[in-house]
Structure formats: C-alpha cells, structure tokens
Symmetry: D2
Subunit: 354 residues, 4 copies
C-alpha cells in the first residue's frame, strides 16, 4: 500500500517520531510511505516525496516536524478540498494519516466524508495544549509541560531572590490543562484557568488576599507564583496593574512581574512519553488503514485495571465526529472531563484555583 | 492528627514532591507531619522532626530525598521491628506513610500486621525500575526514563560519528521496563530484556544478523544501538567480547562499545509527571490515613474510558499483600502485565526484542 | 576576621557559588563569614547571620541567591548610606564583599569612600548582561547565554516547521553582548544590537532584503532568525508590524512572529564556567580583604600567552572608579571593547549585524 | 578556492559548528568547501562531497560530526600517507582543514611536511579532554564539562540521600583538566588527577582521613564526592575495595560507590562556548589558507588586558611542531601549564587535590 502522511497546524514535539513510526513499521509490512509537505498546503499543490528509512533516521529526538506544517486557508474552501482529493488519487495513496490538532482533524473529517475520496483517512492527535477530546494525551503535551515547568523553576529562582509575585502566562487559549498541570508541578500558589469564568474584581480580591497571606511572615515565604492560562479573559498586564496599586500596602518591599511563555514552549527535543505515544499512535494509524477503516482518530487511552504497564489495550479508534464534538465541549467547559478537573483542584487544598 | 513519613530504599526523583504534598495538604487539614530520617533506620532509633511549610518550600524540583534514605538490615529482625513499633507510639503518630519500593512496602506490611501498631500504615510506590505491582507508574520512573534516553541520544551522536555498535546497559535487575521504553524512545535497534530468557548463543546469532544487516549498506546506517536490561543473564562485557570476534567480518570498519548507565540515572530534577504523580499519591495517602485504613498502597491507575484528563478516578487503594504478590509475579515474569509487554514488542515490528 | 557578604541588584546564576567560596575558603583560613540579606536593604536595617559550611552545602548548583537581593532606593540617599556604614561597624565587619552589577558596585564605591567606613569594600562582578567594564566575563553571563540559545533552538524547530521569520528579543538594555554571542551560536541570520545606532527605515530596508534573499529558493531555507538586543530603539512589535506589510510580497507563504526572552533567562542551574568563575572571584575577594585593600573590584581576565589553562594569572584588582568609568563607556558605545566587537561581526561574513 | 575539511579522532561537540563556519563564511568569500568523510580514512579512499549551505543548516546544535570520524591505522603508514596526498591533489584541494586532537594534528603535520602536498594544511583543536598545547580551550571541552557536572549533580542527589562516598571517574587519560574543573564546579571534596603521581597507600591514608572528618558530625555532612581522572594509576575499583575495608570504622552507616562517566559524556548539543569557539576557529582556519600558510594550528588564546570582550585578538597561529611538543609536555606533566594548575589547586583551600 502507499500511505500518505502530513503534519498540520501548530507543530508539536513528537510529530517526527510518529512519522518515523509509519515509515519504519510500514517498511516492515511492505508499504511505501509518502511524506506530504507543509500540511494541507502540500496536499493541495501535490508537494510530496517517498520516505525511506534513511530519511527518518534519528528524527525522533528532533522537535518540530520534518515535513513542515502550515495553517492552510485554501483547505477551508471547497475548491481547495477538491484539489486535495484529486492529489490523494494522483499520488496513488491507499490511505492518509493526518497528524495535528482540532483544525487538522476537522480537515481530515471533511476529506473522509467526500465521495471522491476512497482512501481511508485517519487522524493522530497532536497539540501541545491537550485540548482534544477522546484522547487522554495528545502528542507534544508532555514535552511542553516539562518545558513550562523548567521555565517556572528558573523564574522561581529569581522571584525567591527578590521576594516577588510572578504571573506566568502559558499557552492554552480555551483549555487550562497546561496551566493546571504545570502549576501543580511548579509549586504555584495559584492557578488561573480558562474554564472557570470569574470576574476581574473577584480575581483581584482573591489574589490580594493570597499575596497578603503569603508574605505575612517576612521570613517564611519568598515568592508567589501564579500560573495563568492564555484563555483567561482578564489580560495579564491588566491584572499586574491592578495588583500593583495595593502591593506596597499588601506586602511591603515586594514587587510584581509578568512573563508570557509563548513560542519558547513549542519546540525542543521530545520527552520519552511523547516519543512513545507518537510511535504507538503512528503504528495504530497504520493498522487502521490496513483494516480499511476511515474517518477515525486513534486516541491514547490508558486501560483501566491493569494500567499502562500492559501497553496493549491503550489505544482506541474513535469516529472523528465524536472527537470533534467532545473537543468542542472541552473548549466551552461543559465536558465532564472539565468538571473532573475542577473537582480535582478543589481537592488539592492549599492550591488556589481561580 | 500526627502523621509520620519516611522514604526508604533507593531514592527516586519525586520523593520530595510527595513529602511536600503531605505537609502542604496536611497543614490545610489541620495535621502535623513528622519527617522520619533515613528510612526505617530513623524509625528504629527515633530520629524525627516536625516539618513546616518553610521546610518543604521549593523541594519538589530537587532529586533525592530531603529525609534521607537507607537500606536497613535491622528492620528485617523482629527486635528492629519491635523498636520501630515502639517509636511509632512514642512519636505519637496517628498514621505512617512509607514511600519506597518492594523492600520498603514489605516493611510497611510487616508493621501494619503487628498487634502493637494501631496507627494506619500506608505505602506509596517509588522505584525508578517500575518493578512494583498494582500501579502503572511508580514515582521516579518517568524521570529515570528521560535521563536514560538523553544519555542514549548523546551516545547516538558519538556512535553515528564512528559507525559503531553500542550496548547500553540500564537499571532493572529483574524488570525490563526501563530498557523497553527507553529503547523505543531512543530509536534502539534492539532491546534485551530480563523477562525473556534467551541463551547466550542464540543472542549472539541474532545480534550478528542484526549487525550484518544494519551495516550492509555502507552509506545508509551509521550506528546500531542495543539497550540491555541489567537483569539479562549474559554479562555485557561477555557479549561485546563474543560479537567482537566476528565484527570485522560482519561489518568491516565498525567497532563495538559498551556503557553502563548506573547511578547517573537515579538523581536529577523530577519530571512533571513524577512531580504530579507524587503529589497526587501523597494526598491520597493522607486521605487513607484520615479514613483509618491500614496495610494498603495507593496505586496510580489511569481510569479507562475518560482517561487521565479527569484526574479524579485514577488512584486506587490496594492491600499491601496483593501488591507484594503481584510484584513477585512481575519480577519472575509470570504476570499478565509482562505477557502484555511481550505482545507489544512483538507488534512494534522492526524493533528486535530479545 | 569577620567578613560580610551581600548580593545586590538583579540576581545572576553563580552568585551562590561565590557565597559558598567565601564561606568555605574563609573557614579554612580562620575567618567568619556574615551573610547580609536582601542586598543593601539588609545592610541598612542590619539583617544578617553568620554562615557555616552546612548553610552553603550544595548551593553552587542553585540559581538565584540564597541571601536574597533587592534594588534599594535608600542606598541612594546619604541617610541610607550612613546607616549602612553604621551597620558595617555594628556587625563588627573587617571587610565587605559586594556581589552585583553596575548599581551595586556604585554603592560599594560610595561606601568605600566614606571616612566612617574603615573595613575594606570589594566588588565582585555579577550581571547576566555582561555590561561591566574591566572583566571579560561577569558571573551569570555564560548561563544566561546557554539558556537563551536553548530557547532559540526550540524556536528554530517551530520556525523551520512553518517557514517563519522570528524576532527574538534578549536582555541587554545598553549592551548587545548577549544578542551577539547568542546569535552566533544559534545560527541567527541577523543580529540587532544596541551599540549600533541605525534608523528604523534603514533597518526595515535591510531586513526586507534579508527576508527576500533567504526565502528566494522555496526549498532551501526554512526560517529566518533575528536576535535583537533589548536596547535597540525600535520596538520589536513595531518592526514586526512594518515587515508584515510587505511579507506576502517579499516571501509568499511566510509569516513573522516575535518573542521576548525576559525573566525566563535569569535563573537556572549555573553552568560550569559560572560556577568556576564565581568560586575563583570569591576567593580572590577574600584575599583582597586579607591584604587590607579597599575600593576595588576583582575582574576575570584570561592571561595572554599561556592562557586559561594556567588558571593562576587570570584575576586582577581594578579600582572601582576605573571599573565604573569603563562601564559607562561600554554602555554608551565609545569603549574600544565595543569597537572590537563591531570589527569582529563585520569579519564573520554572512552574519548580518545591524 | 576549493577547501577540504575532515574531522578525525574522537568526536567532540562543536565540530559541526566548525564545519558550518567554513561552508558559510567560505560561500561569502567565493570558496567551495569539500567535506571528506570518516577522517583520514575518507581522504585515503577519496570519499568526499561538496557541501552547500543547505547541508549545514541547523547542524551547529548537533553533537557528533556530520562528516563522520574514525581512527585510521592506514594514515600511520607511508603508503596511506601517499594515497592521502594523491587524493588532496585529485580532489583539487587548495587547502585542507583538519579538526581533531593530538593524533589528528600529528597526521596534519605529516601531510604538511610532504613535498607532494602543496596545499596548505591547517589544524583546528578539538578534544573533550583539553589535552592539547597552545590553545586554552579545545572544541568540545566546555560541553563535556557541563555534561560531567550535571551527572555529578545527579549523583550528589543520591549520595546525599544515602550518606555515601562516591568516586566518579571522568575522561582524561593523561590530563586531569576535566577532573579539576568538574570537581570545583560540582563541590567535590577531593580531586584525584593524573599529573600528580601519588602512591596507592598514600591515597588511601588521605582519603580515609577525608572520610572520617567529613562524616564526623552525623548531621552536617551527607556525602563525600571524589572526582578522579581516568589517568590516575590506581584503578577506581581497587580504591573502593581498600576504602571499604575500613569504612564502617571510619564512618558508621556510610557506604561507598563508584561510577565511570565514559561515552555518555562525549555527545550532546554543544554549549554556547563550544559553538562560538568552533565558528571563530573555523573562520580563522579559512583565513590561514587564504594567506597560503601551512603546517599551523589556530589556537584559542584569550588576549591579555582587554580580555575576551574584544573578541578580535584571541586567535593565534602556532606551528604544528610547537603544538605537538607542548602537547607532549602537557601529557607528561612537565609543562608550566600543569605546574600552574597545581599551584591553583593548592590555593583553593579545603579542596583536597591528590
């Protein structure tokens, strides 16, 4: 079989390991893997090349994606979609693996739904924000988290040296997963996340109380770390400004700073978890295509009971429509998964979650 | 309540985050946490001190254990156990959390079984080898894996520069988990793991075939990486010696090296996963004691279906006897978990698992 | 002797190793070291404690400063300076080591010039910007550089995946040293540094030419990395805005992003160079006090001819007035050292320095 | 001009940045750079290809060497040398840059001395051991040091948790530079280095005294770290064995471990210093060839007085014969540079150097 693969949307560490997995296990099973460049853009203009073992040697440890990626407007038009469908046929593909996030999977579903696309289309979840439904982890999340927490650790050095309040804004437009996890690991004093809609005034009142309490004992506490998700409505600079008004009164000698961890968090050598998940999901996507199944995503679902150690029950195939619906609920905060997170944070006492 | 905590056996990254979690959530719930030094040795001689928030500030990111650890022979004698029981009473403990591996949990079970110990005893799994039953991950595993793979990546740089065969031996006396996971992530060509008992001659035959095939094309392949678990019976140096005899014939111009990743792998700043698991398990252990339950371990079990994202169904309490039995089966290779791993490796084609 | 030590101004990785060096070598020579907290603020209010070997055990690898730091307005008033002088006497200090940057060394000179201060005052250069005269390296520079370049490497992963222009702004208000060094190491296409005063229009013209040329071959080049010093007058966002106007025309399909590496760069485990320099300078400062010399800084000056390997000729004592004058010239760009840099960058062809 | 480049001997982080520097600055000056594969082996059999900008894009951050390396026995025979000379002509080279250590530079000198080689031959020092004369730093040293100290930091976590004596053996067959620097940075208690020839019995006596003293106070000190150069005659295992005999008597409850940091230290992403030095030396080598000078090495020599900041006086050209002589003196311990190190270590009190 000839199996196409493309990476689309924001790049995520581990995408390369997933590509390699397709090429390596594909070669062992007699398939030819065709790498499509720059996401759907390359599918629309037919930029592609066959990938051999030598092409993917050593790429698992590289961040980014060797195939390139792009946000592709043309893929949102029916003309673009038609040309993508044509190239699937022209390239002789018997299947297509789409590695990416919400937008990329939407595109995969559109293609899979077309009458003129007979090759199975399979999605693989990759998004450092972990904002996709039907998979407990997406490729890239674990690496991004570790990068964020390393940055928070560095900031804690400085903040402790100076008795500072630090607001660190992390990625996650509509999803506070990164903020929550990173905050727990970095010994944050407070986590502000997108799903909990709290008014600006209430935020300021609660944060002032936290600051007063934290620095009450001049000796004990040396820094306050607030991890804030990108999606929280109140801008970070606005928050700093308002807290600053009362800071000398709330905590004499203390100052406040902000930092935004943006693109710095996206690249880097993938963690072991991201490399393993990526390779497992890549192999699972291959099997889906061999089975002739289309319009599904392979999700990473640790099995209940026996757990991760079994390593053989932890992938499931979910229809892309289900994935996209669950993702939408995740993003608007109505998902039971989101509710579960709120319960968890309420439990971990002492950690203020706003 | 007064809650004791000790870390015992080999140290593991994340132990400190677990201690902090007890102190921090304990303080929020009105408990006093007493840190016992150097594992059971400190319990036997009563070396302990109360821990306040300032004592645990910033320790989540430190490797090792702030309480110290020790392998304690006295704990294997009934005299030693009696003194440990006495000190539990003398220190006024209403519960004791034991953070450690197989030996430590055995000790915990012994204490919990004594008539003169009324305080609940709870185990928290920590062992970089991931050789404990009834938990999908133990504290320290994820960090150790990332450290191993970083080392393998460095070795790949050198091995590729020189066209070399490299055998890297990793920890895991009776358990090939680290070798398996690290091998997958590091793009190893072959994994030798303890659970699969293969004769020395067969090993040599298969590895020679791998080497011949890998370097057959003088251009394509630049290194062969073999990740070997400590528990595999054939010593690494013996393997190198035997392969070396035929190397010039099998792959002209190629040489072979070995390296043992020992203590280097044990310390280091804990990964996010290890910090999060450690904090969650610490809090769960506290709840067990509040519930008056004894002789159990809190295990990390990703819930089926909704997955990790819910974050609130993923801990279960398992009787220590069950844990110790399942651990024994894991270590002798008869566990279904081990069988699952073998199936997995057989699936990931192209990766030779011996 | 009783020797005081304080860290002042922005914290820098390596400050802790310097403190430890004073305590450790001081102990060997019979001195008592007194740690003064939060920089000059602690000297003015007399917050200090004696430091023993156990206090400094393992701190060399920690970022920040164990003594705390602060920018201290009171030190700029004669009342504040008088109280600082009083406390030098009240604490019984026979000498004071000030570890910090330009402002801190200015404060040290002020104290050393007072008639009521008889104890020798010695400065140790610490500033991640490397903006101090009379020392080739300040404590913290090497770590900051490595942190910046790691971030640039991560950004390159993403930028290459997307065919992007990336402007990365690094610290260095009046000194482009970090930008220059980091740019060379990160394979930047262009470095914008503070010392070279170039008009906004000229910048835009040259950067547009660079972008056009870099992406002229659609296959070859995948990213343009511009490293910009904080001190360059044109704001980064303004630059992005102006380049963006023509981007589709200059390089179709390419987009542009910016990121500011601020506080993330300051902390972190010190590099080997920073730890070694810090310990050497700490010991040298101790010797200065033993010799009864005041109002000097110990500078790190690799010796000509025999080089760094000798390791015993590479520290010199420079009067603080000389240091402050040379620093001023460095900051306004008239120093021969700055001229030397310009020559260097002109030589390294292909690297655009604006 | 056509300029050849090869990397030879043990690989060192930074070699790739040096290759890139030749290609990049070479392209700007109208030269063609020819990459010769696997060191002298590739020169002898004529394996080479022209390198373009795309070939070297992004390689500065990769460990190892993209050209491959090998220890080449044929280069020690006159037949091999003759064939190498023939290929220099056959490849049309107007100059050859040899990046490597002592053996590689010896080979370069041999070629430069031949009547049938008219193209200039220039050496660039690369050796993680820093065992080359006439350069204060060789490419790869700074990265190796940082990797060693990271490993020591991890080991300190474990050693402190267990109250352990740890002997860490680092590379440096005849040169204790790595041990000395790493020991200072890692807060070692003792450094054993090759240049100081001390008897086994004396070693044991002094180390026993250190251990007794260090653990005398049961509370204060938690680990003893001994960093030992590979070249020290007494084997590490022998030392462990002898110290172990008395350990329970010298320090009750303490145990002793050893670890050898071998190949793990060689690879990895180059540090900023290694990347900058490599690029500067690469450019300097190019200038040497343009000047028609042969049989020299470009050495990294921080200039006296103005220091590193000037960045334009810090490279010198040294005849290869001088380099090889000075290297020999370094390796047998008679060099004034070695004497300087001994003085330094004697000064840094409290650090036992044996």
């Amino acid at each position: 079989m000839r199996i196409g693969v493309l990476t689309s949307g924001g790049d995520a560490p581990g995408m390369n390991a997933c590509i390699r997995s397709l090429v390596k296990t594909g070669a062992g099973r007699g398939h030819v893997v065709v790498g499509i460049e720059r996401g759907y853009a390359g599918l629309i203009d037919g930029t592609a090349k066959e990938l051999g073992l030598a092409d993917v040697d050593g790429i698992s440890r590289r961040g980014g994606t060797m195939l390139g990626s792009a946000r592709c407007k043309d893929m949102m038009t029916s003309a673009g979609q038609a040309r993508a469908a044509e190239h699937i046929a022209a390239l002789g593909l018997d299947g297509l693996v789409v590695i990416g996030g919400n937008g990329s999977l939407t595109g995969a579903h559109v293609l899979a739904s077309r009458a003129d696309v007979t090759a199975p289309i399979v999605g693989v979840p990759a998004s450092i924000d972990n904002d996709l439904g039907c998979t407990s982890l997406a490729i890239g999340v674990d690496t991004a988290l570790n990068t964020i927490v390393e940055a928070c650790d560095r900031i804690s050095d400085t903040a402790s040296a100076h008795r500072r309040v630090f607001i660190v804004e992390v990625m996650g437009r509509q999803c506070g997963y990164l903020a929550m996890r990173a905050g727990i690991a970095a010994e944050a004093d407070c986590i502000l996340y997108a799903e909990k809609h709290i008014s600006e005034d209430e935020l300021v009142i609660k944060l002032r109380a936290l600051i007063r309490m934290s620095f009450a004992d001049a000796r004990a506490k040396r820094r306050v770390l607030i991890v804030k998700a990108e999606g929280v409505r109140v801008p970070t600079s606005r928050l700093v400004e308002r807290l600053n008004v009362h800071l000398e009164e709330d905590a004499p000698g203390v100052d406040i700073r902000e930092t935004v961890l943006g693109h710095v968090v996206r690249g880097g050598a993938p963690s072991v978890t991201d490399r393993v998940i990526a390779q497992r999901l890549g192999f699972a996507a291959l099997q889906v295509i061999e089975d002739g199944v289309s319009d599904v995503m392979v999700g990473w679902e640790p099995a209940g009971g026996v757990g991760d150690k079994t390593d053989d029950h932890s992938i499931r195939r979910v229809p892309l429509t289900t994935v996209l619906e669950e993702t939408a609920r995740l993003l608007d905060g109505t998902s039971p998964v989101t509710q579960g997170r709120l319960r968890l944070l309420a439990q971990v006492e002492g950690l203020l979650a706003l």
